[in-house]
Symmetry: C2
């Protein structure tokens, strides 16, 4: 319909010979490198730090931690606080090398999937009410996200002023801000196009 092929029967570098690998293990290792935690705490740590660009579900995280322990990349220790039991995980030296090795590997391009754009593409001119509301929602969400992320930006600068990792943490936040600002701009164009089509 438009341009550039995209076909080809390319067996070019299929991610690495044979093995397809989940990133869940590396997220777990990376988060544990910031300090020991239980599976539950780890999940929260993920949600509250990289949550806006990476999520992990419990059902994935729990078995992954068990697997990492079997491989000796993390060590687990059961703790009892009164009647409450908890299993705390800690990264091992082997886990740290595994993490470091992964950090040096080129990230695979994450193929984006955007359902809103799909609906824009297939939209029926003359029946765009729903589409208009989807765009309005996306606009509101993006603006809200920008506000949240600006808040995080400020509090990060305050809380970790001297931490050498601050610039990197800020970069991830900046990514979110710039991306959502672009989204707001797109929503403006989209609103106009939809209005013109109605």
């Amino acid at each position: 319909l438009t341009a550039d092929d995209g076909s080809r029967s390319r067996p070019i570098a299929p991610e690495s010979p044979g093995i397809r690998r989940s990133r869940t293990r590396f997220v777990a290792l990376g988060m544990l490198a910031l300090g020991p935690a239980s599976a539950y705490a780890l999940r929260q740590r993920i949600a509250s730090s990289v949550g806006f660009f990476w999520q992990e579900s419990f059902g994935q995280l729990f078995p992954t931690l068990a697997q990492l322990e079997r491989e000796g990349l993390v060590s687990g220790r059961s703790v009892s606080e009164g009647k409450r039991r908890r299993r705390d995980y800690e990264i091992t030296p082997a886990g740290e090398s595994t993490l470091a090795a992964w950090l040096h590997e080129r990230p695979a391009p994450q193929p984006e999937r955007n359902e809103l754009l799909l609906k824009v593409f297939f939209a029926n001119p003359g029946d765009v009410d729903a589409l208009g509301s989807f765009i309005a929602h996306a606009d509101a969400d993006a603006r809200a996200q920008v506000k949240v992320l600006r808040g995080i930006e400020v509090s990060l600068r305050e809380s970790y002023a001297t931490d050498p990792r601050l610039p990197f943490w800020l970069l991830t936040v900046r990514y979110g801000i710039l991306g959502n600002e672009a989204l707001v701009r797109w929503c403006k164009e989209a609103r106009q196009a939809v209005a013109a089509s109605a």
Copy 2:
């Protein structure tokens, strides 16, 4: 580590009661609404139009078409050109209603997963060579994408000047352009931060 919870044991609107649904069927229906095609041709149509924000693999598309046929949402017809056999699919009225209904449903927020950002977040200050090269790659890719998309923008305007669907198709391209321009800006910031940290 930073802010906003993200936890909660939310059983709130789990996508729709019970059923998790793939979008593959709707992409197939939407593409067939633009005209009949074989599975192979359909896959190419997807890649060359919405490919930059949505991909489908053969292994997913083939069985989906078979399933859609069993449900009466598409009709298949085997064609023989000489010795070459082919199965062409066409959307049925039932398929068109299914597609229309989906177009009116609010798109689920697609949770993004960005491996590059993960590596930025976990980066070791003092060991940022690899990271620098990842960012350089991302920058080059984004700039190239912008060029490609600008080309598509122009050729779309020429080829479909009078088509009422043109504004919507253009919007998807604009999304790609604005997003990649934002990415280029981020890469600039990232390069500076990485350089400062080295």
